[in-house]
Symmetry: none
Subunit: 141 residues, 2 copies
DNA sequence: TTGCGTGCAAAGGTTTTGCATGGCA
DNA sequence: TGCCATGCAAAACCTTTGCACGCAA
């Protein structure tokens, strides 16, 4: 049976924060600060984040440089000509891989290889985070 | 100036362990156990692992399910699975876009987006240097 | 009134650092 | 002999869990 959920300010704040900042990834630290002046209520933040992940409202990634989790809103509309797309060969999901590095790489291809890539037409095939996690879990059981 | 390194058993063990097991990822836990009966010398293992990463002998990834780092040997031979390919939509030529930035971008997709791109299957569409030059000349005439 | 949400503190796990000792060259 | 490598313990770090209290419905 489905669990009841209450509408609380904490929950609302996190949700609207992501909706307002759909194109960037945030650490838990940043999220804590953003939704609250001081960094209180860490545990609640973690709880809401995992809730939102399960509901597929946001996605969890791992930042190697900062060695911690980062979260990003699962965006709605965007201009698909200026970023790459990753298609998961397992589940078929298409991910928008738009970010600074994406643009940088396109620039590099043009400058160093003379190749003017058309992001809108190019699809990168691979395995998405979710399917990799599932696969890993299977292998370890 | 380059720092001296001594040939020690610990260093040799880790190196040969990876060379013997090139096609799988290992957690630090597994590595500790593999190179030594008991799990001693954890800090040394970590130190060697980061050394090997810097030397690009192994690569560090993050296992979402186990929530820890995993390491894998970087294979020797360069085949078409580890660089992108650009197909020119004008002349049809396929270019091998293998370079440091290419690898870096693939790494970025994995680390920051959780997307494990399969370069061998992914084709970037665009216009190659030759065709761009031709087109430019036409437009200017 | 019920039971979920919250925040604090404590615990959990992985990784890093400090330091004295041991070993290579 | 000089310096690097090692291992232990402690610290740092991110994240989860337990628990009592607060608050939505």
């Amino acid at each position: 049976m489905e669990k009841k959920t209450y509408k609380t300010t904490g929950r609302a704040r996190i949700g609207s924060f992501f909706a307002k900042n759909p194109d960037r990834q945030f650490t838990t630290e940043e999220i804590c600060r953003a939704i609250n002046g001081s960094d209180v209520g860490r545990s609640s933040v973690y709880r809401h984040l995992s809730e939102l992940c399960e509901a597929d409202v946001i996605r969890k990634f791992h930042s190697a440089s900062r060695n911690c989790s980062v979260y990003q809103y699962v965006g709605a509309a965007c201009d698909c000509r200026d970023h790459f797309h990753g298609k998961c060969i397992v589940c078929g999901t298409i991910e928008h891989l738009g970010c600074h590095d994406s643009a940088h790489f396109a620039g590099h291809l043009l400058e160093e290889h003379g190749f003017a890539v058309d992001c809108g037409r190019s699809i990168l095939y691979g395995v998405c985070a979710r399917c990799r996690a599932l696969k890993e879990r299977e292998e370890n059981d």
